[in-house]
């Protein structure tokens, strides 16, 4: 609506009035939001899963050969110190403007958190427990799979929760290359001064992080029945 050359927003239109909280935004941009959430979840889960797949063998090797622990922890600390925007930028010549770039960056961060925690969990397995298992005739592989790794689970799961929550938050920085899930909406909303979009996308980000954390807490509860039994 136009009067005297000025655009006047209808009083009931929160989009036109550019309000922070806007129901009309949710209903009209449902598909955009859904697509962004799906991309956010895909980027996060793929990165954390790859990180986990690389971190477990690295931690086991670092535990087995003591001399490997120093370099592994040193390299991961250096990787973790590099700020996310710089990390994505350093990977640009390798992957170009792609989702792979964001995943690669996030894998490196998840890897760091996971290796540290899994290694701490493996190191905390009591020597007596290990000796008892050896005394019962357990070979090194069986010892690792049925005694050491299960006992390291609580520490590993703590690392997995931190890695996942961090990844959910870091995906937003991927907006710089156009693959940032909800970060894309925040970036676009910033350029167009679209308050409802920025707030909605930010809140959804936090909700995803909290939901993922609770989900992993539930998984931990399910896969460590012996801890429940000990508490009861």
């Amino acid at each position: 609506m136009r009067s005297n050359g000025r655009v006047i927003a209808p009083p009931d239109d929160c989009l036109a009035r550019n309000e922070w909280i806007c129901g009309a935004y949710l209903s009209t941009r449902r598909h955009i939001l859904l697509d962004a959430v799906v991309q956010h979840l895909q980027l996060t889960s793929v990165s954390v899963l790859i990180g986990l797949a690389v971190a477990v063998p690295l931690a086991v090797l670092a535990r087995r050969w003591g001399w490997a622990a120093g370099p592994v922890l040193g390299v991961t600390t250096i990787l973790y110190t590099i700020p996310s925007l710089a990390m994505f930028s350093l990977l640009l010549p390798l992957y170009g403007l792609s989702a792979t770039l964001v995943v690669a960056g996030l894998v490196l961060y998840s890897l760091t958190l996971l290796v540290r925690n899994i290694l701490a969990g493996l190191r905390a397995v009591p020597e007596e427990t290990r000796q008892a298992a050896r005394g019962m005739g357990y070979g090194p592989i069986r010892l690792l799979l049925t005694v050491e790794l299960p006992l390291a689970l609580p520490a590993a799961m703590a690392g997995l929760r931190i890695a996942t929550v961090s990844a959910v938050s870091l995906v937003t920085v991927g907006a710089i290359v156009g693959f940032g899930g909800l970060g894309n909406l925040i970036y676009a909303g910033m350029n167009t001064y679209f308050k409802a979009q920025v707030l909605t996308a930010s809140v959804l980000c936090v909700l995803i992080a909290v939901a993922a954390d609770l989900l992993l807490l539930g998984v931990q509860w399910l896969i460590t029945p012996w801890i429940r039994a000990a508490r009861a």
Partner: protein, 223 residues
Amino acid sequence: MNTLTATWHWLADPAHWTGDDGIGHRLLQHLVLTVVCLVVSCAVALPVALVLGHLGKGGALAVNISNAGRAVPTFAVLVLLLLTPVGRWGEGPTVVALVLFAVPPLLTNAYVGMREVDRSVVRAARGMGMTGRQLLLRVELPLALPMVLNGVRIAAVQLVATATIAALAGGGGLGRIITAGFNLASTPQVVAGAVLVAVFALIVEALFETAERLIPRRTRPSR
């Protein structure tokens, strides 16, 4: 190889080091932002954490605030601040966001450090007739110092990272070289900016690691 050479040429070009968009100015901005915000965050968080740790109160808050800080995306907070009245005040959003994200690790580490001080040492000091203030400043704080410094190191590294992301939301600092590189579609400039940021972050980390080694160890590692 080609990108590396191009990056090197970009960095070696004296024209890129001077002026308002030059490396020198951006580096100074980054340094000032990091140092000022670190001092402010320490002044806000450390007294609170030390007193709470001394009294043994508010532990759940001090520990959980770190987890909450991790779940909230830095970029989202920066943009939200930019769209509020704070955004009109130059580097306002950057400074507020930097302090917000530096406070949680400071609080958590200082609090945990205070609580991990051997209780028998605290009881002995009380038995010697030390007042609460003496106990805090002469016994608990020196013993908790390694943990407190660890928190300061984490906060400093976090500050460098947040100051970089601030460039996405129009803030100054080394991140601007990266975002400008993306806008110009110049991969060498993007990589050059990233290298500068990474080196800056690693130097900060190394400085604090050295500082942690230099302080006298009054306690044996607890584990």
